[in-house]
């Protein structure tokens, strides 16, 4: 089972490596969106610091959302997804592998880049730490839930916007506690509880989301 | 018993100054129900029958 997953991860990472532009696009989008908010609301430092946690989390969320389209689309288009469905590896292993690879090429880079953007918002050290920790726990959940949405909307009309519509409400708990963790750190309050809850979301979605994604893929490909 | 709440029809419609809000809510509710029922009728008509619930 783990060998299958590792194999899929390796395959997807190699494919992503050939198209480094895709990964870069997600990061550039994140930076651009984070830059838009001060332009829209004014650059008063206290205001920026106060809205930093929320803005950075929303920007990361939207960047992760935009990248979901390519989770299954390429394999669906050239028929390899159907091969995976009937192939030797269990489908849930394929789904798990692809989700992990997606996080490695989307969520992880975002998590590593976020502190730099956090500096633009004047977030102090502890808040930046909370930002990295919350994103590290939260972005995998975004990939896991996003995979379900991506599988449901496979090949449908207007898939990108529909995907956003389906998945964004489900992202709300992650956003609330992710941004909440950074906000608490900003106020000097403990944020271990927030991170624990994020960890719980991660555990829960890691167990259940791949099965939902498998069901959705079977529905889409039958 | 209950009519003691309201001195007159005017008082009833006025709702202690909050008439706009109270009737704005209940009015929109009636509107939504009407739209829902009309939409069902229109859908039935598109199918080529007169009203839903008729052909048993």
């Amino acid at each position: 089972m783990f060998a299958s997953i590792a194999g899929i991860i390796e395959r997807d990472l190699r494919l992503a490596f050939r198209r480094k532009g895709d990964v870069a696009q997600v990061l550039v989008f994140f930076v651009i969106v984070a830059s838009l908010f001060p332009l829209g609301t004014g650059a008063e430092p206290n205001q920026l610091r106060a809205m930093g946690p929320g803005v950075l989390w929303v920007a990361a969320l939207l960047a992760a959302l935009l990248s979901l389209g390519r989770l299954f689309a390429a394999d669906y288009a050239d028929g390899s997804l159907e091969q995976m469905l009937i192939g030797a590896h269990p489908l849930v292993a394929t789904v798990a592998g692809k989700t992990i690879a997606h996080w490695l090429t989307t969520g992880l880079p975002l998590t590593l880049l976020a502190p730099l953007i956090g500096l633009q918002y004047g977030l102090p050290g502890p808040a930046l730490g909370a930002l990295v920790a919350s994103l590290a726990l939260g972005t995998p959940v975004l990939s896991l839930i996003g995979a379900v949405g991506s599988a449901l909307t496979l090949g449908t009309r207007g898939a990108a916007v529909l995907l956003a519509l389906l998945v964004l409400p489900l992202y709300v708990p992650v956003l609330v506690f992710g941004a909440g963790a950074v906000g608490a750190a900003l106020a000097g309050l403990p944020h271990a509880a927030h991170l624990s809850l994020l960890g719980a979301f991660l555990a829960f979605s890691a167990v259940f989301a791949p099965w939902a994604t498998c069901a959705a893929l079977r529905i889409a490909l039958d | 018993m209950g009519a003691m709440n309201w001195g007159s029809v005017d008082a009833f419609l006025d709702m202690g100054g909050y008439g706009l809000f109270v009737w704005g809510s209940y009015g929109v509710a009636v509107l939504c129900v009407a739209i829902e029922l009309l939409a069902l009728k229109a859908r039935a008509r598109r199918l080529g029958a007169s009203a839903p619930g008729e052909a048993r």
Partner: protein, 266 residues
């Protein structure tokens, strides 16, 4: 109704084989006339409950000390919010039934419920806004219940949009069922998150102070209106599922005639 050229439904076959009289209604052909017979009774019950509820709400319940007459919106707002959540759960249950029993009717029922559920969600939001304005001074209050209702509206719209975007009805039904089940698991999590978020940011809470006697009367009013909304929902959803059955059966007849598949979004 004409020729119904469709594949035999498992419910019909199983029901006859095992002699369980209610399983035969899992077949759309059998459910259609049953639904038609039931609609008038539920419609009548809806009207009766509504009249009683409105009487209690406007004539039996006294004026609120702080909020005056504006609190009477509660007899619409709270039942609408209850129904919006209840209908979503029922919709998800029909989706689950579709997976377990593999019946076509389940997906049709889920599709029939969604618009009504969305309507109640909208009414909860609208009445919440109109209640918030005189009470809190603004048209929108980011309190836990209203924000959760807003997200619930997004979930309904997403469900309807997903079904509308998939041409094949069977695939649409099953995709919708997965989405509804994922959603129903998430609704308590979302509600809990928003509750927590609300207390943190010390948002306003749309609530009332009330004496015990008043509380009993108010509860009766809300329960009666909720019963009215429930009866109304059943009547409307049965009517809508009959239309869906006719649309889909007709579609299958066309498929046989023309030998090609078509979208049924005319």
């Amino acid at each position: 109704m004409g020729q119904v050229l469709s594949t035999p439904d498992i419910g019909l076959a199983e029901g006859s084989a095992r002699g369980e009289w209610w399983l035969r209604y899992a077949a759309p052909q059998a459910f259609f006339p049953l639904a038609g017979r039931l609609i008038p009774y539920f419609a009548l019950l809806a009207v009766l409950f509504a009249l009683c509820g409105l009487y209690v709400g406007f004539f039996a319940a006294p004026t609120d000390f702080q909020q005056g007459e504006s609190y009477r919106i509660i007899f619409l707002h709270v039942p609408a919010a209850w129904m919006s959540m209840f209908l979503y759960v029922v919709m998800a249950l029909w989706g689950a039934a579709g997976f377990v029993l593999n019946t076509r009717l389940s997906g049709m029922m889920a599709s029939a419920i969604a618009p009504t559920g969305a309507m109640f969600t909208f009414l909860a939001l609208w009445s919440g806004a109109l209640w918030g304005k005189p009470t809190w001074g603004t048209w929108w209050v980011w309190d836990a219940r209203l924000t959760s209702e807003l997200i619930l509206l997004f979930l309904y719209v997403g469900f309807i949009a997903l079904k509308a975007s998939i041409d094949d009805p069977r695939r649409a039904d099953r995709a919708g069922a997965v989405l509804a089940l994922v959603g129903v698991i998430n609704v308590p999590i979302i509600y809990f998150s928003v509750q927590w978020w609300n207390t943190l940011h010390q948002g306003a809470s749309v609530s009332l102070t009330r004496s015990p006697q008043m509380a009993a009367t108010m509860l009766w009013g809300m329960l009666l209106m909720a019963a009215a909304a429930w009866m109304y929902s059943i009547a409307v959803c049965l009517a809508r599922v009959r239309l869906i059955i006719r649309e889909r059966e007709r579609e299958m007849a066309w498929m046989r005639e023309l030998g090609e598949s078509r979208t049924w979004a005319q």
